[in-house]
């Protein structure tokens, strides 16, 4: 029996293994703490040096030290990061690279290879985008190549052959994997896993202080993508993606009232007396759309005015905000139906009215006085609102990402001194002025605007589209949306934030390839939109393939879905696929590798076959030559030359120089041509 001790890892296999490990560790290394990445790189380098014969395997004491070190690291990681994905991933990586340096038996290599696949799974937990999926697919391919290289015969081992074999296997495995992906019944999670990414939440938050949204304005990260299903998308100025309603103001910060946040919870509260249907007057203007949201680590979602969630796990709050059941830790797709122009809360509960009029007891006296004066000058609430908006419009207010700092009485300071701010300044002071005049008002945060991607017909909303506006309650009309920013900077709403801030140096200052900077370069813009279109389709069709979509597919295929039918479909498809692959492998002829010289020589047999002198199976070239010369002495010189050239090229080609080979080959070609000419009249006379 072969002992495992004297097993030598084939050198070419080891280089593939190392390449696979590097590909697998790279994305983790970017996410992990720097010192763990450094250890990972050191281990790979060490292994490389063992491979090159410069260093030995780690000794026993070092191995023990490594185990103790790993244990210590795991304890400290769990204390620092908590028991979550990040700490688990970095521990896995550590164990993985340590295993690498003591890998010397075949079993060890397979441990490393199996861990490679587990690490790739971890990479999917972080990102399932088209780009990272392509990267992971490449890593799978390289890992498979490493396995092939381990088992190939050393005599036949060349990198390109090994790689093409593994590519062939990968392509053959793909159809089966796709069928399994489509029809293998998806199972609900076996146990609850706390998916806890330690990254802070991104996007709009449930608190708004001056400067918060301006911060988002510097980011060109994608927030979400939207596709309208059976209607053209609304005009840009109507694209208000409503996020959260903030109705609690302490003089600096607007906050969301947390009491009774969910619709379901609220229903059980005493002051909630009416059902959803009683509170809204729905319009006929229905619009359906699908949103694919980037992970935010927050629970709330975005939709147009009065959005009704179509998915089961979403719910709506009393303020018609939409929430997910749990934090959004990965890309999420949901369907919404909006009733445009619907009215909400025609009757206002006293508790809500009270909350929507609340102001801090002191401070901002100038603003309060202004509100009193203006309200006294106007006839109705609506006129008062227009008067305030007109004030924003007619005075020297600026829309800017870099407003000056504000003093203690922020609203006063902004309205009368600095007069420059981003949307949150306008929304905040507008709501203040409303409340000071006794009109129920609140701040809404979300996004405004979108970029249209014509290649796949959907819209992209970026972080710099973040926006804040107001809702004011009017008698007989319910909550009505007003946007003071539109009064200051109409182009922000009509054309988008890029147009409004085109001259502001702070806009998108953090992103290198921002849209506005590259906007002038048309082809880059086209490329960017096309790439995003691929990403979008990938998400819609592949990443979002879940239980629900699978059920729809089954319904389309099977009609009524029963367990037996699903099992039968799955079993039959799997059997057909495996049988198909088996047939393809077992009954297909491997392509015999013929050299160009062989192919030229075979032409001789084919040409002579036309006069009944074809080469017999297995007949040696010399024997064949003799037979032809006896039968047709006139052809002898040509056939003899061809045979000699062939034999020289075929059996002495190691001794021949490349130029000489080419020379002989072209000579062979020309003699064959002569032979063909000679045979032509024969054919004609026979015909």
């Amino acid at each position: 029996m072969r002992s495992e001790i004297d097993y030598q890892i084939p050198r070419s296999a080891l280089s593939w293994v190392l390449l696979a490990v590097m590909l697998v560790v790279a994305p983790q290394a970017l996410r992990m703490p720097l010192w763990i990445s450094a250890i990972a790189v050191a281990c790979i380098v060490w292994r490389w040096l063992i491979y090159a014969g410069r260093l030995g395997y780690p000794g026993r004491s070092l191995r023990i030290a490594i185990v103790i070190f790993t244990l210590l690291v795991s304890v400290s990681q769990m204390r620092n990061l908590g028991i979550g994905l990040d700490s688990a991933a970095s521990l896995l990586t550590l164990g993985f690279v340590f295993k690498l340096i003591e890998m010397r038996h075949k079993r060890d290599i397979y441990v490393v290879i199996s861990l490679c696949f587990v690490m790739l799974m971890v990479a999917f937990l972080y990102s399932q985008s088209a780009v990272s999926s392509a990267y992971i697919a490449l890593s799978v391919l390289v890992t498979t190549t490493a396995m092939v290289a381990l088992n190939r015969s050393t005599l036949l081992d060349n990198h390109s052959g090994t790689f093409s074999l593994s590519l062939k296997m990968g392509l053959q495995a793909l159809p089966l994997a796709v069928v399994l992906f489509l029809v293998f019944p998806r199972i609900a999670p076996l146990w609850a896993v706390p998916v806890q990414n330690n990254g802070a939440g991104t996007g709009v938050t449930d608190e708004m202080s001056p400067g918060d949204i301006a911060q988002l304005g510097r980011s060109s990260e994608l927030a979400f993508r939207v596709q309208f299903e059976n209607s053209p998308p609304p005009l840009h100025e109507n694209l208000y993606w409503r996020g959260l309603v903030l109705d609690d103001f302490d003089g600096v910060t607007w906050r969301r009232t947390r009491r009774g946040s969910s619709y379901a919870q609220a229903a059980s509260l005493n002051d909630f007396q009416w059902s959803w249907e009683d509170r809204v007057r729905l319009s006929d203007d229905v619009i359906d759309y699908n949103v694919i949201m980037e992970p935010t680590q927050q629970p709330w979602l975005y939709g147009l005015h009065l959005a009704d969630p179509m998915n089961r796990e979403l719910f709506q709050s009393r303020n018609f905000e939409i929430f997910n059941n749990g934090l959004i830790t990965k890309r999420m797709s949901y369907d919404l139906r909006s009733y445009r122009g619907s009215r909400t809360d025609l009757l206002l509960l006293d508790s809500v009215r009270r909350r929507s009029l609340e102001l801090p007891t002191g401070g901002n006296s100038q603003s309060r006085a202004l509100a009193q004066r203006l309200r006294a000058d106007t006839d109705s609430d609506l006129d008062y609102i227009y008067a305030v908006l007109a004030r924003f419009q007619q005075n020297e207010y600026f829309y800017t990402l870099n407003p000056p700092l504000l003093g203690d009485n922020r609203v006063d300071d902004f309205l009368f001194n600095t007069m420059a701010g981003f949307c949150e300044h306008y929304a905040s002071s507008f709501a203040f002025l409303m409340r000071a005049a006794g009109i129920p008002a609140r701040v809404v945060v979300g996004y405004q605007g979108a970029e249209y991607n014509r290649y796949e017909d959907y819209m992209m909303v970026y972080q710099y589209n973040a926006h804040a506006w107001n809702e004011v309650w009017l008698e007989g009309r319910g909550w009505v949306r007003f946007d003071p920013t539109a009064a200051v900077s109409p182009e922000r709403i009509e054309q988008g934030v890029e147009a409004a801030l085109a001259d502001d140096p702070a806009f998108l200052e953090q992103s290198l390839f921002s849209r506005s900077r590259l906007g002038a370069m048309d082809w880059i813009n086209t490329l960017r939109l096309r790439l995003d279109a691929i990403e979008y389709e990938w998400n819609r069709r592949v990443v979002n393939y879940d239980e629900e979509v699978q059920f729809e597919l089954f319904e389309r295929l099977l009609g009524e879905v029963t367990e037996e039918k699903v099992v039968l479909l799955f079993a039959s498809l799997a059997v057909i696929m495996v049988a198909g692959i088996a047939v393809a492998i077992i009954w297909t002829e491997p392509r015999t590798r013929r050299t160009p010289v062989d192919r030229l020589y075979l032409q001789l047999g084919r040409e002579l076959d036309k006069i009944g002198l074809g080469r017999q199976r297995g007949e040696a070239p010399n024997d064949y030559c003799r037979r032809v010369c006896e039968a047709r002495p006139d052809l002898a010189p040509l056939v003899q030359e061809i045979t000699e050239l062939y034999l020289e090229l075929n059996y002495r080609h190691a001794d021949l120089q490349a130029s000489r080979q080419r020379q002989l080959q072209s000579r062979l070609r020309s003699v064959l041509r002569q032979l063909r000419f000679r045979l032509m009249p024969v054919l004609k006379s026979q015909g």
Binding site: F117, M121, R152, M169, W191
Partner: protein
């Protein structure tokens, strides 16, 4: 306890295998006699696939499902590939050179491929022997030597041959057990002894001793043939009127070059054969002419490789054929 159980199982298994594979000179591997099972490494690979799958379920990560299914597809594919790597492989037994007892016989097998197949990284081995490797990718046929230690004098019949492949991924092993008609002669294990100690033994008696004309001992008379040296003519006999007769002298040196069964009195059969074998080898290396005497067998003295092989064969097959 456990060991004896394992041995009993092995015996059973070997018996079952032997009943399935008839003795043949040539065999083409097909689905009836190719077996495929995952290796230990393959089980580890499946474990990793299971881990990926469970993570995919619990974190509801769509593409991790894809990864798990890709791994399982690769596994299924590797079963088919491993099977196909053996399917259609033809093995033919070729004659094998004799060996001495205790040596490894190198059984020669000719491998040839079906016209639609190629076979790579195929290992051939007898149980508990190190494998020989063969590839049929660029060539249509090839010869491979498979080693087997022969520990018994006589005719050695190769046991069941195992043909294994881990190609291409090493997570599945395909193997086949065949009973090729491979045999060879096993000469006795040579055991050295000092030839001199038998010098005076003179076992054979003079009739059977090897004589060469010489000058030392008087042997007898023969008629004179013209040209004979006159020095040896027995002139006394001529004087007695018995005609011209020649005194014959022989050298009895050669009388000892009979290897005789009885030289090793008191040894067992195998011990005698081992020593005779040594004698044959030694004498033929010294290019002497010698004969062999064994119960029921007497081979007159001769020399040369063919003679040596004939004697060794007789020794090998003593009491067997």
């Amino acid at each position: 306890m456990q060991d004896s159980f394992r041995q009993a199982f092995r015996k059973r298994y070997a018996k079952w295998v032997a009943s399935r594979v008839p003795l043949t000179d040539s065999i083409t591997l097909n689905r009836r006699i190719i077996y495929v099972l995952p290796t230990g490494n393959g089980l580890m690979f499946l474990l990793a696939a299971g881990l990926v799958f469970i993570a995919a379920i619990n974190y509801a990560v769509s593409l991790a499902f894809g990864l798990a299914f890709m791994m399982i597809s690769l596994f299924i594919l590797s079963i088919l590939y491993a099977y196909n790597n053996l399917n259609g492989l033809n093995l033919k037994s070729l004659p094998t050179a004799p060996v001495f007892c205790g040596e490894e016989a190198s059984f020669t097998i000719e491998l040839s491929r079906g016209n639609k197949k190629s076979h790579e990284a195929v290992e051939l081995a007898f149980a508990e022997h190190s494998p020989s490797h063969a590839d049929l990718v660029t060539v249509d046929r090839d010869r491979v030597q498979v080693f087997y230690r022969c520990n018994k004098r006589g005719r050695c019949q190769a046991p069941i041959l195992r043909i294994t492949t881990y190609f291409p991924l090493g997570i599945c092993r395909a193997w086949s057990l065949i009973n090729l008609n491979l045999n060879c002669i096993v000469y006795p294990r040579p055991v050295a002894f000092s030839m001199e100690q038998f010098d005076s033994g003179g076992g054979g008696g003079e009739e059977s001793a090897l004589m060469q004309e010489g000058s030392e001992d008087f042997y007898g008379f023969r008629d004179y043939v013209p040209g004979d040296p006159l020095r040896q003519v027995a002139w006394k006999n001529v004087a007695r009127g018995q005609g011209m007769q020649l005194k014959q002298f022989v050298d009895y040196v050669d009388s000892r070059v009979w290897l005789d069964w009885d030289m090793f009195y008191g040894f067992s059969v195998e011990e005698r054969l081992s020593r005779l074998c040594y004698g044959v080898l030694k004498l033929s290396r010294e290019k002497q002419s010698f004969g062999l005497k064994m119960p029921g067998l007497e081979i007159p003295p001769d020399s040369g490789a063919a003679h040596r092989d004939k004697l060794l064969r007789c020794l090998a097959l003593y009491g067997i054929e």
